[in-house]
């Protein structure tokens, strides 16, 4: 499979929303260890609102609108660091892209690169600072380096890279967010935001994969 339609992209993002909502307790637990424990509530709240709106407002004219709608709802409902960061994850990538109606590997890579750059611009975090960047950046690189002709394989490599990024965050000291004062004590614990990124990529992969099967 090479690409998704706007409707399929909408379904894919809804699956990502569902996955975050399902993982609310897990994200809460992860954030409780070294953060303030609200990441699960925040993400689930934002993505639930996004899902509702995506479901009500569908169909959308283009891929861009699907991402933009999701990002705007997260940005303007969640609040917290993750509202801006994850809002930007969906908003930032499509900002400078002309309307498209097909999501292929090239576009996916371009959108996510744009998101990553916008997030780094906004949040100032770099690889190794124990944030969601540690999951998103490897996923973007995987998207950029992978075979754009096989969307399933490409998304698999991206989600694997994201999960590897989550693993890596265990070795880092936090430079941003509420864990930054922990210093060495944060080592051994994974970052909550990075975990959300991996869950989102995982769900997107699952959708693409099941679509390819059917």
């Amino acid at each position: 499979m090479k690409s998704l339609t706007v409707e399929q992209t909408t379904d894919m993002i809804i699956k990502a929303c569902d996955a975050i909502v399902e993982n609310k307790p897990y994200l809460t637990e992860v954030d409780s260890k070294i953060g303030d424990g609200d990441h699960g509530i925040g993400m689930a709240g934002g993505m639930e609102k996004a899902k509702t709106m995506l479901t009500e407002k569908r169909p959308f004219p283009d891929i861009n609108s699907v991402f933009k709608m999701t990002g705007m709802l997260m940005l303007n409902s969640m609040g917290g660091a993750s509202g801006v960061i994850f809002g930007t994850m969906f908003l930032g990538g499509v900002k400078n892209i002309e309307p498209v109606i097909e999501l292929d590997g090239h576009l996916m890579a371009r959108i996510m690169r744009g998101s990553l750059d916008a997030i780094k611009e906004r949040g100032k975090a770099n690889l190794g600072d124990k944030t969601m960047v540690d999951a998103l950046e490897p996923a973007v690189i995987a998207l950029e380096n992978g075979n754009k002709e096989d969307l399933v394989q490409l998304m698999k490599e991206a989600k694997d890279a994201a999960w590897q990024g989550v693993e890596n965050t265990k070795n880092y000291i936090a430079k941003y967010g509420k864990a930054k004062t922990l210093g060495e004590r944060a080592i051994g614990y994974q970052d909550a935001g990075a975990t959300s990124v991996a869950i989102i990529f995982n769900a997107m992969y699952d959708y693409v994969e099941s679509l390819a099967q059917s």
Partner: protein
């Protein structure tokens, strides 16, 4: 952990509705937004807008009032308010003279308020902000911008409000508010966790006899986990940190706030002030004013913080003006 709530997803709505309807004499709501607006907001002056995550009540919504903030944007529990909410709140009280934002320095707040300012500036509204970073246990002085804002928020809001009341221009209000911020430090300690309303979870874990010096309001670690000690030893250590940090010396004039984090009682806080007052007396500090309150809490978290504001004549002038909100009234000063 029993919480007196209904559906957890209604917490924000019901909490704000309860507060605003009880104090409808003073407050109204920004339609459709989680924001509290003073009915007696300033006219023709710089507007003061505050905000942050909820769950720390009375902060922030309890500091909207005469002489205080014109409005507060209430984020979800422990989460900074979103940019749209902040911008709408500011628009509801903007009077053409610009808006000053005061909030605690946290990654989430910084990013959301920054985005809100960008939105407002696009609409031609002048904005400025003061990030409160009073918690000297949260980062060394060299990385002051990494410090968290805790109970010191209260003093910064008080002085910013008075500066707005004085009819000064935005840049002058900003200068005075920053000056206040730069003369405030706080240190806290936690004896027991709070909880996240809606989740049945403590915000952190702490051994039966353990306490944590410098712990943040959400359970962020501080400078040391240690054993419970008598009040005077705890206070001595905290005061010593503040004194060193601020370089306090004889005849320095200060305002002092002993702030309970939630479940710690006024009885205990009074004892804390007793011990603190003794130390300040030995050092011959001049205590211009003192408060023993629960202003900046984290649900039923146990523990307290001590905030010191060093006053000069200018700050004192703004500190002493009357103000009123249901949770913070000054005005009977003689």
């Amino acid at each position: 952990m029993k919480k007196i709530i209904n559906d957890p997803s209604d917490i924000m709505e019901e909490m704000l509705s309860g507060y605003i309807s009880a104090y409808s004499r003073y407050y109204e709501r920004v339609p459709g937004q989680n924001a509290v607006v003073s009915k007696e907001r300033r006219k023709n002056k710089v507007a003061l807008v505050i905000g942050g995550g909820s769950g720390h009540e009375p902060l922030f919504i309890g500091f909207v009032g005469k002489g205080l903030a014109d409005a507060a944007a209430a984020g979800n529990i422990f989460a900074a308010p979103n940019p749209q909410l902040i911008a709408e709140t500011a628009k509801a009280v903007h009077e053409g003279k610009g808006v000053l934002f005061v909030y605690g320095c946290y990654a989430g707040d910084n990013m959301n308020f920054d985005m809100a300012e960008e939105l407002l500036q696009m609409d031609g509204i002048k904005t400025a902000h003061v990030r409160v970073w009073d918690d000297c246990a949260s980062a060394p002085k060299e990385r002051i911008q990494d410090r968290r804002g805790i109970a010191g928020d209260v003093y910064v809001i008080k002085i910013a409000g008075a500066a707005c009341d004085a009819g000064l221009e935005l840049d002058e209000v900003l200068r005075i508010t920053e000056k206040a911020r730069d003369n405030i430090n706080t240190i806290g300690l936690a004896t027991s966790p709070g909880s996240i309303p809606g989740l049945n979870k403590p915000t952190f874990e702490l051994g039966e006899d353990d306490i944590e010096f410098g712990m943040g309001l959400h359970g962020e670690p501080g400078i040391e986990r240690t054993k419970m000690k008598p009040a005077n030893e705890l206070v001595k250590r905290m005061y010593t940190e503040l004194k060193k940090e601020m370089g306090l010396k004889e005849n320095d004039e200060v305002a002092v706030l002993v702030n309970g984090l939630g479940s710690t009682t006024l009885l205990e806080l009074n004892i804390v002030y007793h011990d603190l007052n003794k130390l300040m007396g030995e050092d011959k500090l001049i205590v211009h004013d003192a408060e023993i309150k629960r202003y900046c809490t984290c649900q039923e978290m146990g523990g307290f913080s001590i905030t010191i504001l060093r006053l000069d004549e200018e700050l004192k002038k703004y500190y002493d003006t009357p103000c009123f909100s249901p949770y913070y009234a000054r005005g009977e000063i003689k």
